[in-house]
Point group: C2
Chain length 122, copies 2
């Protein structure tokens, strides 16, 4: 398996935090750390009138967060490669830090087409 | 629906192109354009001894590419929001530009948990 890709939908989050670019940056840094990943670069963008996007380039792939404060919603991806990383821990941290009261987590294995016939493992 | 997330596995690609950071940058810029998306920021990283990661921050979400030249493989995500973008066109361009002879494309809808019970639409 090349990697594990967690697709996380966070609902009923704290809207103030979802719209706080500095908070999103710090939270992505924390998420990288608890996942056991190496953060190589991090870019964020604050949209007008609301919303933040954060993209973390990891040695082991990436974390992305897109927020819709007006809906209390964030779309998160945590994609990590290798056996040493724990993307589930990053997801759990994001649920807690963004104070999501309702979430959905799906995990895909990323691999060559021959290997992904059973791509949805959770 | 918040957005459409294309998960693309590219196999049997041109390994030289997969390892060419400048080529990956240019290709992501082209992919953003054909998708009808607005590219706000683009970061890339060249790994040693091989491999490139590219992350594009779009006004409409993101594009990510992670390459394994030694396997001829690239893991691609094209996540766009709104009705005006065409992530499928970006995927088709990436298949062609990276000269993938075999690929797999899955499309997820991204939305709040209530709405994603039928998340896999393709």
């Amino acid at each position: 398996m090349i990697g594990k890709h967690c697709i996380l939908e966070l609902c009923e989050c704290n809207s103030v935090k979802l719209d706080d670019e500095a908070f999103i940056r710090t939270t992505i840094q924390m998420a990288s750390k608890v996942a056991g990943a190496q953060l190589l670069n991090l870019i964020t963008h604050k949209f007008v009138p609301q919303g933040v996007t954060g993209l973390a380039l990891l040695a082991e792939s990436h974390i992305s967060i897109h927020t819709w404060p007006e809906s209390g919603y964030a779309a998160v991806d945590v994609f990590t490669c290798g056996d040493q990383t724990m993307p589930d821990k990053a997801c759990q941290l994001l649920v807690e830090e963004l104070q999501s009261k309702r979430h959905s987590l799906k995990t895909l294995r990323r691999d060559t087409p021959v290997m992904i016939s059973n791509a949805l493992i959770n």
